[in-house]
């Protein structure tokens, strides 16, 4: 327990256990898949499925690029002011993965994806959908990987407020909410402000949308604001997601 909690030294043991559970997880999703299939209209099902799959893939790639372009304008303004000292947007290698399994358990918030070590997926890689960042890969098996969602209570992500550039840390609080930490009382924050990844820590790429501010509590005796946000990514509905290549891979020529 101590080795796993403090040092993540049990990664290989956990991977072995997850590999054992992988067929059970896949079998457990079968009844739901059958239910979905039965409740769907069967008219020209094959044709529609193929076309839909193709279009979804194209849309996902295009929306991911649009996210970057939409942020580019604001990013350039900031970069002009700071003479290029903040993180820059780069084209990254991406892999499309399908969500196989998900957890609605209060103990943890995760998804299982159908790409694993055989597809060169590694722990620490970031996953996004067409709306924004979903989380990061924490464990891999040969054929699957486990994605810890940003809403998990153990998850933190460095962000900045897109409108002002104010940096903070976004903590998962469980289910569909997040808490923005370390924003001083005198900061300019408004309900509806978009929070994007700041790129600090070099795990999450800079400039991707993460969450939107939904509630601000100001308590005079506290030095920081209490800010609640909701993720912009469709954590519960996403079926196809993008796994982004890590920083190291990007820096190589």
């Amino acid at each position: 327990m101590a080795a796993d909690y403090y040092g993540q030294l049990m990664g290989s043991v956990r991977s072995a256990l997850l590999t054992t559970l992988s067929p059970i997880e896949q079998a457990a999703t079968f009844p739901k898949q059958v239910y979905d299939l039965v409740t769907t209209d069967f008219t020209s099902m094959d044709e529609l499925k193929l076309e839909n799959q193709k279009l979804k893939t194209e849309i996902l790639l295009l929306k991911a690029k649009t996210q970057q372009l939409a942020n580019m304008e604001l990013e350039i303004q900031r970069l002009e002011g700071l003479l290029g000292t903040t993180g820059k947007m780069n084209d990254r290698k991406v892999q499309i993965a399908t969500v196989n399994f998900f957890s609605s358990n209060p103990l943890s918030q995760f998804l299982t994806l159908n790409k694993g070590q055989l597809d060169e997926v590694k722990a620490g890689q970031v996953v996004i959908d067409e709306q924004g960042i979903m989380g990061q890969i924490i464990h891999t098996t040969p054929t699957t990987s486990r994605l810890l969602l940003i809403t998990d209570p153990d998850h933190q992500i460095p962000v900045r407020i897109q409108r002002t550039g104010q940096r903070g840390i976004l903590n998962g609080t469980g289910y569909d909410s997040l808490s923005l930490q370390f924003i001083p009382q005198n900061s300019s924050v408004e309900i509806g402000d978009l929070l994007e990844s700041s790129g600090l820590g070099e795990i999450f790429p800079a400039g991707y949308p993460v969450a939107r501010v939904t509630k601000i509590n100001k308590q005079e005796e506290e030095p920081y604001l209490e800010i609640i946000a909701t993720p912009v990514a469709q954590l519960r509905q996403a079926h196809k997601v993008l796994i982004i290549s890590p920083y190291d891979a990007e820096k190589k020529p």
Binding site: D4, R14, T20, L21, S103, L107
Partner: protein, 167 residues
């Protein structure tokens, strides 16, 4: 038939035990995807309790440890916490299993509800789960659902075991 059932050897029903654990893991995995999962007891723990009361010549600590580790991997909790909880509950069951076996199925269900309360309490302390108001209620009334699940589980497994040993 009764004597044979009381003096049951693990080797006589090994495949039934393994298969039942696999089914329990499958059900627990399915439950993780459901919003109502807080109301459903962990089937692996129920099975562990049932089999540790049936086979008197074994301690069942290995199966408790392995099942606990698998649940840790499944729930994404710190490795060893579910294993520890399973072993503690199995240990208590081993101390009282002769008495437990003498109860009727409904009385057993009540005892199992107490075991599940101990399980929930340990889980609450160790994992500090994030629960909303209704989920808190679901979390703490879950052991009572054992009153429904345990008779079904115990009677069906007893029937299967008897079928197996009379073959």
């Amino acid at each position: 038939m009764t004597d044979r059932f009381i003096n049951l050897e693990l080797s006589q029903a090994r495949w039934l035990v393994i298969f039942s654990y696999l089914i329990a893991l499958f059900l627990d995995t399915m439950m993780i995807m459901q919003n109502a999962n807080l109301l459903i007891p962990p089937f692996t723990l129920l099975l562990q309790m049932y089999w540790s009361a049936q086979f008197l010549k074994h301690t069942h600590f290995v199966s408790a440890f392995v099942l606990g580790l698998l649940l840790d991997a499944l729930y994404q909790t710190v490795l060893g916490t579910h294993a520890l909880m399973f072993i503690i509950l199995t240990f208590i069951m081993l101390r009282y299993r002769l008495l437990f076996r003498s109860h009727s199925v409904l009385q057993q269900a009540l005892v199992i509800a107490f075991y599940l309360y101990a399980y929930q309490f340990m889980g609450y302390v160790l994992f500090a789960p994030v629960l909303e108001e209704t989920q808190q209620i679901h979390y703490w009334i879950m052991p009572l659902t054992a009153l429904v699940f345990w008779p079904l589980l115990a009677l069906s497994l007893r029937w299967l075991t008897q079928k197996l040993i009379t073959q």
